[in-house]
Amino acid sequence: MRLSYPDSIRIIRLPCTGKIDVIHIMEAFEKGADGVYVAGCLEGECHFIKGNLRARKRVEYTKKLLDDIGVGGERLEMYNIAASDGPRFAAVAREMHGKITALGPSPIKKSL
């Protein structure tokens, strides 16, 4: 398909979004990420049944934590994208890139 998406995005592969833990997301921010999004399979289509649903709950929990420390929960999102849906993958990447660009650099970055 050769679709392009913003080069600001680094992909970290996981066997399933159910593998994601709060600490992984926190460490990404700690290391200077301006935003993070978790791209899971469509709801109801998880190979491990509930992995993407669990991931969404962990993302919600982490958003609250990021709000509490003033980094901002809006810098973190969860998306559900079918594995075969390249165009949507690229569209989400652009959407997130646009959103984070508008928010500006992470507030912890200036002192890194």
């Binding site: 600490i23 926190m26 934590l65 509490d68 420390i69 980094v71 912890i108």
Partner: protein
């Protein structure tokens, strides 16, 4: 186990506000099982605090350690050599561990990272509920293994009260009436005759009402 919950980050940030280096100590037992103060929660809280400080242009170093338990000397001793390098200790153990830590390390302030809630069970993943209040005189033998002290809102010894409706307690419709549970269980055990026996007035002096408690076993004491 002892069930606890992480304190609001803001409160913990307040404890650490004048610190440059803190020692964050988790506990590998109760609070690990209820996801409040184990190794993982220590890592998450340490990361959150460091970021919160960075955002305000301040640095914070956090040493992360998780001990087997914080309610026994032998494990608490493991950090003796490093305590002095820190401005404060944040303990993610229950209140027991926090206090034992504070009793042991007198010159370093110790702060709690969790709110200790109760002695209870894991009902299902992510759900914990109270089962025992440590009254010091267990009556589970008379109550079909269901504790009215910890599970009846009124701690009735001879229930239920008039507020029991369709098996639920009047204080909360999602809460089972402990006395309904007791009666149902006695019925299932074919022991309903026991229900007719009046449980006498309880001696509350073995409970907290009698002041802080202590157990001494001479045969084990050194």
């Amino acid at each position: 186990m002892i069930v606890a919950e992480r304190k609001p980050i803001e409160e913990i940030m307040g404890f650490a506000k004048n610190c440059k280096k803190i020692l964050m100590v988790g506990c590998n037992e109760c609070v690990t099982v209820c996801y409040a103060g184990g190794r993982k929660e220590v890592a998450i809280l340490a990361s959150a605090l460091k970021m919160a400080f960075k955002k305000d242009g301040k640095g914070l170093e956090v040493t992360e350690v998780t001990l087997e338990r914080q309610c026994d000397h032998e494990y608490l001793e493991e950090i003796r050599n490093i305590v002095d390098e820190h401005d404060a200790i944040v303990s993610l153990a229950c209140g027991v561990g926090v206090q034992f830590m504070a009793e042991k390390y007198l010159t370093t302030p110790v702060f709690p990272g969790v709110n200790t809630r109760f002695m209870g069970v894991t009902e299902e993943s992510g759900v914990w509920s109270e089962r025992c209040q440590g009254c010091g005189e267990c009556i589970l033998g008379q109550t079909a293994g269901i504790c009215p002290i910890s599970r009846c809102a009124k701690r009735l010894l001879n229930g239920p009260c008039g507020g029991s409706t369709n098996g639920k307690c009047e204080i909360n419709k999602d809460l089972d009436c402990a006395w309904q549970l007791i009666i149902d269980r006695l019925k299932a055990l074919d022991r309903l005759d026991d229900y007719e026996e009046i449980i006498p007035i309880k001696d509350w002096s073995t409970e907290r009402a009698g002041g802080p408690r202590k157990v001494v076993r001479e045969d084990l004491k050194q």
